[in-house]
């Protein structure tokens, strides 16, 4: 019997363009072709649009037409194995944008089998994009064959600056429109990464694992349930098809090796889903660094010389297995999984280059069992539930047991105090164990076609216990410390005025209970118990409006809080002291943006400008206490931020993008902590980049030499203006410490065969071998060359 091809077609306008692309890309018809009997993607189906243009579906059964004219489009599907199928999709000019298209879809496409979980995800982000939240959505798919980590990709986005202290696995500080560190929350598939440890972080997740990254600036939708202040980054992993297999290996400078394996399989008559992911990262990070080496006797510091780093290696392993079902009567999705990871990172130096270390390292081991559950029509017909529960067990150790003073050549002398560590006053084998329990519940209720209610509750309990077998003082966390946070949010979303106006109103509640122990004032041996309980409320509004069919305006406002997290409150037991007295920080955020899209023939240009205003109070900042540091509620700041971006593409082959961000962060604390008038009032906050820009250019040759092959060439440049380490107004301008201006260039060439089944990519990061610094004196790697091989198949 002739198999009947049933096409599931969904149309939406998420931006699927190139890397670093963001937000609304309109007039897209994208679809997904499945075989009716097997429900598997059909590759090689020829899709015609208006009988003029044709493309083939890829290995995932996907096709895409972009930059289309308004009006009705005839779409014709042809396949050797299947019956032909015709449909029409109308792209309406009156409202322009995603939602309209979705509505048309319900009229034209047979959505009866549109049951892939993923669709829900997409429509969700689509809704967010239209409700006025400022979000940059980066489609990672075109970058998956390149040798990149997520940090590198994010760094090209406007408003984002990732400051890395060194090579692979090094500490980094992510900043977004002037906010940084823990003010920004990170999620994987909507799950907060707070307690995941360093084996799973932005600078070691390879791009293969990731489908899309959404960067929310300022106002964060309720479903993410976070108490972030400055924004959030949500990484969506690849879950598109029923079966796939992806393996990649890369080898680069400084003995950097990365391997990743991702597989998904559906087994047996019950259609048990088996997902597996493995990631391996290794680097010696032995890149050349410019340093002054003191004379061993006189200590004299003279000329700079180039030396190889010798204690900066990094090794990490992560594995994840999940089993479950989807699209059953009793569940839309049910997954049970476990993630395990471990890493070891050598520490080459502290916060400056004057004290290199030869034997200090840290390790961490993390085990996370988890459960995901989704159910539509939960209790009520129009009520959808999604839940996530996890338990994190993280063990971290800091090893600093040598009393040697190393120099940059790797030679050493024994310290005066044989009980001293290299970095720490006392030798340490400090070990701490974190146990965290997180639960997230999202409820969505459709009151009416135009109104949706959402409720989120995120519950997080963290307990930390520490010990140090060789410590001579009271050990932090020898008594368990705990921090319990509840964040609840309620929002109502609405679509009005013939789909042109959308808005979201929300309220959030933050509850925190903590029990900590602090060292008695200046006494190393006595711990005092402290408890804190508090409740705060936040509220906000996000609106979007199509002024004309080509011009979308978005705006959002919120007045919110962020609760201190475990790291800030508990410290790290070493140089970072605990501060159980931390209060939540507060901020008023306002964003407004305009997006203009225009098309001339096969060219498409999108211009975007956004203005962001932030007014943080009681900002949690790191402050110095002689040797150690501690987080304190300190600054009142005012942030004015402007972002401009242009994106151009020609026929989906040639892409050009440039963007720039200028953020003016001004200290508006009138008084010093001692009550005196601050001379730094209205001074720019130090040690934060304030002007940066990126450009990128790429071209793809399709069917290069061989059919279904693709050759892509890409170059990109990154600029960060110099900035002062310390308060700009203080000291002679000529004597001030600066983090110098950066201008660096990256390039890559990628060749793929059989619609990306096999690919090979050569990359050169910082190919002009510039000496680059993100942080004062902490030199980043020079030229980094690599080759990446990837095999990816979906069936």
């Amino acid at each position: 019997m002739l198999r009947i091809l049933v096409l599931s077609l969904f149309v939406y306008s998420t931006c699927i363009v190139c890397a670093q692309n963001n937000s609304l890309s309109n007039r897209v018809i994208k679809g997904f072709v499945l075989d009716n009997t097997t429900s598997e993607p059909s590759m090689g189906v020829i899709v015609y649009i208006n009988e003029s243009q044709a493309i083939e579906t890829d290995s995932n059964g996907l096709f895409l037409f972009d930059s289309l004219e308004y009006g009705t489009h005839k779409i014709h599907f042809m396949s050797q194995d299947h019956q032909s199928f015709d449909t029409t999709v109308t792209l309406s000019g009156e409202g322009l944008g995603a939602h309209l298209l979705t509505i048309k879809l319900t009229h034209h496409a047979p959505i009866t089998i549109l049951n892939d979980v993923n669709i829900v995800h997409k429509s969700e982000s689509q809704t967010i994009r239209e409700t006025g939240f400022t979000v940059n959505s980066i489609d990672i798919k075109p970058l998956q064959s390149q040798n990149l980590d997520i940090n590198k990709v994010l760094n090209q986005t406007s408003g984002v600056r990732v400051r890395e202290q060194g090579g692979l696995g090094s500490d980094f500080n992510f900043s977004l429109n002037g906010f940084s560190g823990r003010q920004i929350k990170f999620f994987i598939d909507g799950i907060p990464m707070d307690n995941f440890g360093t084996s799973l972080s932005l600078n070691n997740i390879p791009v293969n694992l990731v489908k899309r990254v959404d960067v929310y600036k300022g106002v964060i939708p309720v479903f993410l349930g976070a108490d972030a202040l400055g924004g959030a980054v949500n990484i969506s992993t690849n879950q598109e098809v029923n079966r796939f297999f992806d393996f990649a290996y890369s080898l680069g400078s400084f003995n950097t090796q990365r391997a990743s394996l991702i597989a998904k399989q559906t087994v047996g008559p019950t259609k048990l889903i088996v997902n597996t992911r493995f990631v391996y990262n290794h680097s010696d990070n032995n890149y050349l660094t410019n340093v002054q080496i003191p004379d061993p006797v006189s200590g004299k510091l003279d000329k700079y010389q180039k030396v190889r780093r010798f204690n900066d290696g990094y090794n990490a392993l992560m594995g994840d297995i999940e089993l479950g079902f989807s699209d059953k009567k009793w569940t839309k999705k049910f997954m049970l999984g476990i993630t395990a990871s471990q890493n070891r990172k050598e520490i080459q130096q502290g916060n400056n280059m004057t004290k290199p270390c030869g034997e200090v390292f840290t390790t961490d081991k993390v085990l996370i069992p988890y459960l995901k559950y989704e159910k539509d029509s939960f209790l009520l017909k129009r009520l959808n539930l999604s839940m996530y529960v996890n338990y994190v067990n993280k063990k971290t150790q800091v090893v600093d047991t040598s009393s040697k003073t190393y120099n940059w050549l790797g030679a050493y002398t024994i310290k005066q105090s044989t009980n001293s560590g290299e970095l720490n006053w006392d030798k340490t084998l400090f070990f701490f164990s974190d146990q965290a329990f997180t639960s997230i519940a999202n409820l969505q209720y459709t009151i009416h076609k135009r109104y949706t209610l959402r409720f989120n509750n995120t519950n997080n309990l963290l307990t930390r216990v520490g010990n140090d077998p060789i410590s001579k003082n009271a050990v932090p966390f020898s008594q368990p410390n705990s921090l319990h946070k509840y964040v609840s949010g309620l929002s109502i979303e609405s679509t009005l005025r013939a789909e042109r106006l959308k808005f979201t109103l929300f309220v959030k509640q933050f509850v925190m209970n903590s029990k900590t122990f602090e060292m008695k004032d200046n006494d190393n041996d006595v711990l005092i118990e402290l408890q804190s309980n508090l409740v705060r409320y936040g509220k906000g509004l996000a609106v979007s409006y199509f002024i004309t069919s080509k011009l979308l305006a978005k705006s959002s406002f919120e007045n919110t809080y962020r609760l201190p997290d475990g790291y800030e409150m508990f410290g790290n037991g070493l140089l970072l002291e605990a501060n159980p007295r931390l209060k939540p920080e507060k901020s008023t955020n306002f964003n407004i943006g305009l997006i203009h899209t225009t098309k001339l023939g096969k060219s498409k240009l999108q211009s975007e400008v956004s203005y962001l205003y932030r007014r943080p109070q009681d900002m949690i900042r790191l402050s110095a206490l002689s040797v150690t540091t501690k987080y304190e509620n300190l600054v009142q700041a005012r942030i004015n931020c402007m972002e401009v971006a242009f994106k151009y593409n020609y026929n989906q082959r040639f892409f050009f993008e440039c963007n720039t961000t200028y953020q003016d962060m001004i200290n508006v604390s009138r008084y010093e902590p001692d009550g005196s008038v601050s001379i730094l009032y209205l001074d720019r906050l130090p040690n934060i980049p304030y002007w940066f820009a990126n450009t990128s250019l790429s071209y793809s040759f399709h069917n290069f030499i061989v059919k279904n092959s693709k050759l892509s060439v890409a170059v990109s440049s990154h600029f960060v203006d110099k900035f002062y380490l310390k308060w700009p107004s203080q000291g002679n301008a000529s004597s001030k410490f600066i983090v110098p201006q950066q201008l660096s260039h990256d390039a890559s060439i990628t060749y793929s065969l059989k619609n990306d089944r096999y690919s090979c990519s050569f990359g050169a990061i910082n190919f002009t071998n510039k000496i680059l610094y993100d942080d004062f004196m902490l030199q980043k790697p020079g030229r980094f060359m690599s080759i990446k091989l990837r095999y990816s198949i979906s069936k």
Binding site: K300, T418, Q636, S676, S678, D683, G731, A733, S735
Partner: protein
Amino acid sequence: MKVKHTTAVLLSLAIGLFQSCKTKEKDVIPVEEGYVLGFRAQNGAATSSENDADYLLTVKTLMSGTISSTGNGIEQNGWCYYTHTGGTYLVQGYQDNNAVGYKVENGLLVEKGRFAFERMDCTNEVGDNKTLVSIGAPWGGGSYDCNIQLIDMERIEIASAKKHPLYFASATDSAKTRLNMWPTGTYVENGKLYVAFYPLNGTSWETPLTDTAYVSIFEYPSLSYIKTIKDTRTGPIGYYGDPTCIIKDENGNHYTLSNTSVNSGFTQSTKPSGILKISAGSDEFDKDYFFNVEGTSGFKVLAAAYVSNGLAVARVVKDDPSFGAWGTFSYSGLQPCKMVVLDLIKKTVTEVADVPMHGGQYKTPFLVENEKVYVSINAGTEKHIYQIDPKTAKGTKGAKIEGREIQAFYKY
């Protein structure tokens, strides 16, 4: 057309924004004759550890106007200790282990060289206008060796160093004596190096031994150990942070200051605070001299500057256990310190009028010029330089300090 229009508007917006935000750079103004100051700036309520900075700067006068690091001074990475000899000013980092030497040339401070060190906890002039003695103390136990370093300030480098304990516990000493010996003050006289110290646990800040004042004596410049002299009329001399706890009169006699204060780093107080004397040429405490400052006035004497005719200006504190072990040096609103005039001959203490209660300083700097003493007074919201006349015991408010405090004063 429309695209071009939008693009042009956005571009000009962007350019306008960037241009409006350029910062102006000021020129450095030479000061032909004046003072070199180690200036501790406000670190701002928005501070983070990397924002802490000291500035080495020059000013014409101490008695009028405002002293500020706004657009002025050579930026230092974090807190610093300062010493001076023979026209070279040494700025020694507390956060990073670099020391930098500067000279004043044509009214401007110019860097002359730098060196790296492991520890420099107590640094003082030798008196030959070219050498400093700097002692690095061990922390954390395991070793009681101090690293006694001679620093050549012409070459700005460590000329020689010797590791040696400051004190040998004898068989008759109690176990408590096997403590870390932390150097607090030094002087060189007649080919001998005198080192005052206080015993502390060394892995914690505990000070279980507070009933004896100690000075160890070494040969100079060979740095061979000679002996340790002790006196039990008062407690250990000085405190953590390299204070000015040894003063010298016009006849070459040295006076040592024992503070015995539980707010200044000692965890117990078992003897009254007072002053001992080592007469010129002697290598013993003067048995006939003891100035019981606490008995006389109730004050603990922290640091002092000698002026003339037995008069010295000192910073004193009254102990209050609720202030904690380091309360004297707190920036958090405590102002426990007072300025007094000491008469070392008559053994009297006179409170200085017109100088407010204030917070203390590590390595308390004083400048003595024309029989007057200049000090930095941080009285909480108000910070000023005060000139103190020891003859009248009166203070005069001078320049306003737009920062936290002055960490070093030098006349040039």
